[in-house]
């Protein structure tokens, strides 16, 4: 890249994301809605993700050191003032499935020294394992803490023979020293998009879903194409009055539950959470 090229095409290198109408002409923009009112914290999504994306089970000891590799995890929160010293301290937790938010202005992207993480045209935050040199800067910069580092060479440890036969051939088995994260089940999307392209159409709503959405017993996770205005996800975003390109949402009606996590950090996440409702008698 010559200096003259850099100066001449400066605006191309400085694309601001997101902007109004960015995905109006685009065929795909993947997004999600997670209804916390439906979530029962059963961890089925996590298990499905382990199976789909070749995630290694690291064991109790390494889990304690924070080496766990779950791309989607169930976070538990207790309300303010609630005491945990009751007979059943686990009771009353609120669950929140936390996965990569596929931010439009992702904090992890600009800090990568080798450009291993970047934005794809369909609005996903990608991670290219071959490029990653393991600086872990992206993980440090991620406000959601959803990037996971391979501290060990897991393949032989996590899948001793013949367990390697259970691995998904469409997903790379990552090796030591690279960062990894949720991909919105890119292998499924890619297969579906290829099929649709041969037929000369775009993917129908619900034709491809992520492993977590598929496994969810209460259908708390809705996955779809936000660029398609008639998709379920797009309609839910609209009903919840969440705009992808805004960091402060204007809610004109009361009782709207949709919000995006840590929106005030200007990350513009692609996942909308629906607040939990509870009838608290006491």
């Amino acid at each position: 890249m010559s200096l003259s090229n850099l100066i001449k095409n400066w605006s191309n290198f400085r694309t601001r994301r997101p902007y109004e109408g960015q995905y109006d002409d685009s065929p795909y923009k993947w997004a999600m809605v997670i209804d916390l009112d439906s979530c029962i914290g059963c961890n089925a999504c996590t298990v499905a993700c382990y199976a789909e994306n070749n995630l290694p089970v690291v064991g109790k000891e390494r889990f304690g050191k924070g080496h766990a590799m779950h791309w989607i995890r169930i976070e538990r929160y207790w309300g303010e003032g609630e005491t945990l010293e009751t007979e059943f301290p686990e009771r009353g937790a609120q669950y929140l499935p936390m996965l990569c938010q596929q931010c439009e202005a992702a904090p992890c992207e600009p800090v990568c020294p080798v450009g291993a993480t970047h934005h794809s045209p369909d609005g996903l935050n990608t991670q290219v394992y071959n490029r990653c040199v393991g600086s872990r800067y992206c993980s440090a910069n991620c406000p959601y803490k959803v990037r996971y580092f391979n501290w060990w060479n897991y393949p032989e440890r996590a899948w001793p023979n013949p367990l390697e036969l259970q691995l998904n051939p469409d997903v790379t088995v990552r090796s030591k020293g690279v960062m990894e994260k949720c991909t919105f089940c890119m292998q499924r999307l890619r297969a579906g998009m290829d099929k649709a392209k041969t037929d000369g159409r775009i993917l129908a709503d619900g034709e491809v879903v992520t492993a977590c959405a598929q496994a969810c017993p209460t259908s708390a996770i809705t996955f779809g194409n936000l660029a398609d205005k008639n998709s379920k996800v797009a309609k839910m975003w609209k009903t919840q009055q969440v705009d992808l390109a805004k960091n402060v949402q204007e809610k004109t009606e009361d009782g709207i539950r949709g919000y995006r996590i840590l929106e005030d950090l200007n990350t513009y996440p692609s996942i909308v959470y629906l607040e939990r409702l509870r009838n608290m008698a006491s």
Binding site: H118, S120, P121, L124, T126, V128, Y129, N130, R131, P169, D170, V171, T172, V173, T183, M186, Q187, R190, D194, K197, T198
Partner: protein
């Protein structure tokens, strides 16, 4: 004296320089066609197939379309190795060549109800997704290019080989070199476009 000294230094540098330039760049194995002890030549592993399948007869002399046997190429990621019954479908009826040693071997597999253990020649690394369908749909069905040309971009002139050999590098730089070029979109059209260059299209 000073001049002589300078001349001597320069000559010394030139000798060193040329020896550096002429040093062979590191490649695994020897030149194409000459197999080394580790089973590699310059283009990758030299694969020995259970039957020395004559592509030159089938694709060359008989002009059979590649996708008659490699039938999944137009609708799937992989082109597929034909099943034994695909071979037998024709060879059961071709009486003239039944006494040839290669065909005898084929009938042996058929009688034993054993699949032929063909080996993979164009083997990409596990972290790469290559889709045959996209390329065949674009160049063969959309642009109506001849099948030999379409497949030959990556597989070389198979009609001149017996068992297939890797003749292209199949490296990322080599893929990109074609993806960067402008290709016509349809027959007779002047509209061009180039291949996609998003990392996640091929890296998985």
């Amino acid at each position: 004296m000073n001049y002589c000294k300078k001349l001597f230094v320069w000559m010394f540098l030139i000798v060193i320089g040329t020896s550096l330039v002429s040093a062979e760049p590191f490649v695994q194995g020897g030149p194409i066609g000459s197999q080394t002890s580790d089973g590699y030549d310059a283009l990758g592993p030299v694969v020995e197939q259970p039957i020395e399948f004559p592509h030159n007869t089938h694709a060359g002399r008989m002009q059979i379309n590649c996708m008659y046997c490699h039938t999944y190429a137009r609708r799937s990621n992989v082109s597929g190795i034909p099943r034994l019954d695909k071979c037998m479908g024709c060879h059961n009826l071709i009486e003239g060549v039944k006494d040839r040693p290669r065909i005898k071997k084929l009938f042996e597999y058929w009688a034993n109800k054993q699949p032929i253990p063909w080996k993979k020649v164009h083997d990409l690394p596990d972290f790469v997704r290559f889709n045959h369908e996209r390329h065949i749909q674009r160049f063969y069905f959309q642009e109506k290019r001849p099948v030999r040309e379409t497949c030959g971009y990556c597989h070389g002139y198979i009609a001149s080989m017996t068992t297939a050999r890797r003749v292209k590098a199949l490296s990322m730089g080599w893929c990109i070199s074609c993806h960067e070029k402008d290709h016509l979109e349809k027959v007779g059209s002047t509209v061009t476009s180039h291949g996609p260059n998003d990392c996640w299209l091929c890296h998985k």
